[in-house]
């Protein structure tokens, strides 16, 4: 294995050396080399397949490229990516947006699932507390995302079933289902779209955030 990798690399590096001369390899050459190195360096482990990297979608490819270049996507590309992602959102099949906030809290606490050391069949957690403050009682929360404490209260959702709350309820569902529908290169995973959480789990999370009885809104 290692020997092969070595040959691939030295072969390519030599080619790059000859082609690049004083200026070094071009961006396209470096991108190609990176792809080749990814293929030779990573392997399937348990249920986690190499295709998770080799079949990355256009959204991730465009955002990664923008990150490397150090400048955000232009408006047009960003809106196009958001539109593509918006189409993937599956709205609740029974029209019910608000689940059990107690279940939602459990899902928000769990960061398990979909790694090569997790069982392939387990229900994944939402990883929410890794990045967000949610229930104020939990002091172990991350700060990569904004605080979600008082999420519904701040947004004036006193009755999630009321017509006045409709837009906010739908946005919350959509954001959890596919965050990239609202912000092309958001750091937030696309929980519903990528199959991290199922419909019932998303419903519970929306409940945690918007149910006036949830500790989030106290």
């Amino acid at each position: 294995m290692k020997k092969n990798t070595l040959f691939v690399l030295t072969g390519l590096a030599t080619a790059l050396l000859l082609a690049g001369c004083a200026t070094g390899p071009s961006v396209a050459e470096l991108n190609a080399l990176t792809n080749q190195i990814v293929k030779s360096s990573f392997r399937d482990q348990s249920h986690v397949k190499l295709t998770r990297l080799t079949e990355t979608d256009e959204t991730n490819l465009a955002c990664s490229e923008a990150d490397v270049a150090g400048k955000p996507l232009d408006d047009k590309t960003a809106r196009a990516i958001e539109a593509v992602n918006m189409k993937t959102i599956k709205w609740p099949s029974d029209g019910k947006f608000i689940g059990d906030w107690k279940e939602g809290e459990k899902i928000a606490q769990s960061g398990r699932g979909l790694t090569w050391s997790d069982s392939a069949t387990m229900e994944s957690g939402g990883n929410c507390y890794n990045c967000h403050q949610i229930d104020k009682k939990e002091i172990s929360y991350g700060t990569i995302g904004p605080s979600l404490y008082n999420y519904g209260k701040i947004r004036g959702v006193s009755d999630p079933a009321s017509p006045a709350s409709k837009a906010m309820v739908e946005y919350t569902w959509g954001k959890i289902w596919n965050a990239k529908a609202y912000n092309a290169c958001s750091n937030m995973p696309r929980a519903g779209h990528m199959g991290i959480l199922n419909e019932a789990q998303v419903r519970h999370i929306v409940g945690l955030l918007l149910d006036p009885k949830s500790p989030v809104n106290q």
Binding site: Q109, S110, G111, R112, N127, Y129, N130, I139, S140
Partner: protein, 151 residues
């Protein structure tokens, strides 16, 4: 007060039981099995021969307010009182409360530190077993937080 002979006898019996349960046999007769099996601070101190248990400002427990991980929690016990025989470190909510027992001699300070495992947030105790059979304690609450992405 439990005599050393009784402790020996007790340990031997327990070791026998454990051996049949598939545990490795206990080679050391001096090991205070009853103390380390105790589920409460009171039972653990009793196993060290203490007849009474009282809070004391002269006993100090050192531990952090919050432990980032329950697998390793630094804690220490100390006292300046004369006549201290043993210093115990205990975690109230662990499956067995006693963590460690240090025998005080003329040649060491009555001040010991180690690191304990904690299954959950709990009060932790330092108990000084005195020569007159009294046990004096100090306690402190340690919160164990969830860390890491897996939480």
């Amino acid at each position: 007060m439990q005599t050393r002979r009784e402790t020996l006898k007790h340990s031997a019996v327990v070791a026998g039981l454990l051996a049949t349960a598939g545990y490795p046999g206990f080679a050391m007769a001096a090991f205070n099995k009853a103390g380390f099996d105790a589920k409460t601070v009171q039972d653990a101190t009793k196993a060290f021969g203490a007849s009474s248990l009282a809070e004391s400002k002269d006993v100090t427990i050192t531990a952090p307010d919050i432990a980032e991980n329950g697998a390793v929690v630094p804690m220490g016990a100390s006292t300046a009182l004369a006549g201290v025989k043993q210093l115990l470190i205990l975690v109230e909510k662990n499956p067995s409360t006693l963590v460690a027992a240090f025998n005080v001699s003329d040649t060491v300070d009555a001040n010991f530190s180690t690191r304990a495992k904690m299954g959950q947030s709990s009060d932790v105790y330092a108990v000084a077993i005195m020569a007159d059979g009294k046990a004096l304690w100090a306690k402190k609450e340690v919160k164990v937080t969830l860390g890491g992405c897996g939480g």
